[in-house]
């Protein structure tokens, strides 16, 4: 029987290529958003304060000590679940690490109402139009940035933190161990 070997080989190559490329895709999370600022200096910001202290706050105001920057919104369910965890972390590590909350894309009334209910224990800033969020490469809320004392982003956590993860990341931040 006559066989056209070039066709067979074409078919096999095509099948192998498909299997390889598509097979590589398994286990990958197609919804994951890349974050490129790890290890880079944290972008500067100037944001309005919501925590009683009047005026604006700059990144430079928090220099010298490790910083935890938590982006959240009142309209985000998981953020509300995460909120007590961050407050707990502040109670435990607040003497060694600075905590800053950034309210992202929210209405003033909603934020005011929320903060009246539970007054902020640490610095709370307002990123009304999401300017700082985009500078920081945010991809949703809640997200938390762990910034070293010399102002570098060590790690970005996506999604709500739980106490053990928060503790682990703060310890690593304090030791400034390589990630």
């Amino acid at each position: 029987m006559k066989i056209n070997w070039s066709l067979v080989i074409t078919g096999l190559v095509l099948a192998a290529a498909l299997a390889w490329v598509l097979g590589k895709g398994f286990g990958r999370d197609p919804h994951e958003v890349p974050f490129m600022l790890t290890g880079k200096p944290a972008p500067a910001f100037t944001l309005e304060r919501l925590d009683g202290a009047k005026g604006e706050a700059k990144l430079a105001d928090f220099a010298g000590k490790p910083l935890i920057l938590n982006f959240w919104s009142t309209w985000c369910g998981p953020c509300k679940i995460e909120h007590p965890v961050i407050e707990w972390g502040f109670g435990k590590f607040g003497d060694r690490v600075q905590f800053v909350g950034v309210v992202y894309q929210d209405s003033r009334e909603n934020v005011d109402a929320f903060l009246r209910e539970s007054p902020p224990k640490y610095a709370m800033l307002f990123d009304e139009n999401g300017r700082a969020a985009v500078d920081y490469g945010l991809a949703g809320v809640p997200e938390t940035y762990f910034i070293t004392k010399d102002g570098k982003i060590r790690y970005k956590h996506v999604g709500p933190l739980d106490p053990s993860r928060l503790t682990q990341e703060i310890r690593a931040l304090l030791e400034d161990a390589p990630k």
């Binding site: 890349p34 974050f35 490129m36 919104s73 985009v134 949703g140 809320v141 709500p160």
Partner: protein
């Protein structure tokens, strides 16, 4: 899950209209916005997506355009934060060239194959089977008449 929630709750989130800019700059911002992927959506551009994140990113594009930044500089700004992933169109360089070049190679090869199967010489034309069409005879009749006139 978190992204889903964010998308889900988009309707609750307030919208902030960006600072108004001139129509020319707005048009430029829109063109560039069309090429930047909204970070929380799935494949929509920041110019198209109604989500708050896209609005923030679009506002940033407007600011950068107003500062006189070029398209390449604005792309660089977003790539620095979100990686190449943020561009809806892969840059035509390096390995990415395969998406830009292969389709043309494909068309070129196809044209070559067709050309090779096309008789060019008059002899070959004569030698080929007569193209007697089994068209509708009436259609053929009318064509003939038109051709004669």
């Amino acid at each position: 899950m978190k992204l889903l929630l964010l998308l889900a709750l988009a309707a609750y989130a307030p919208q902030h209209a960006g600072t108004p800019i001139t129509p020319e700059l707005e048009a430029k911002a829109h063109t560039i916005g069309k090429t930047i992927r909204c970070a929380v959506c799935q494949g929509l551009s920041v110019a198209d997506s109604p989500s708050p994140m896209a609005q923030s990113m679009m506002d940033r594009v407007r600011e950068l355009v107003t500062e006189g930044k070029s398209e390449a500089e604005i792309h660089a700004y977003f790539v620095e934060r979100y990686g190449e992933w943020i561009l809806l169109e892969p840059k035509a360089e390096g390995f990415n060239l395969i998406v830009w070049v292969l389709p043309f190679v494909f068309v070129g090869l196809g044209l070559a194959v067709i050309a090779r199967n096309t008789a060019v010489s008059e002899d070959a034309r004569q030698a080929g089977p007569a193209p007697e069409a089994a068209d509708d005879p009436y259609l053929k009749a009318v064509r003939d008449r038109v051709e004669k006139s």
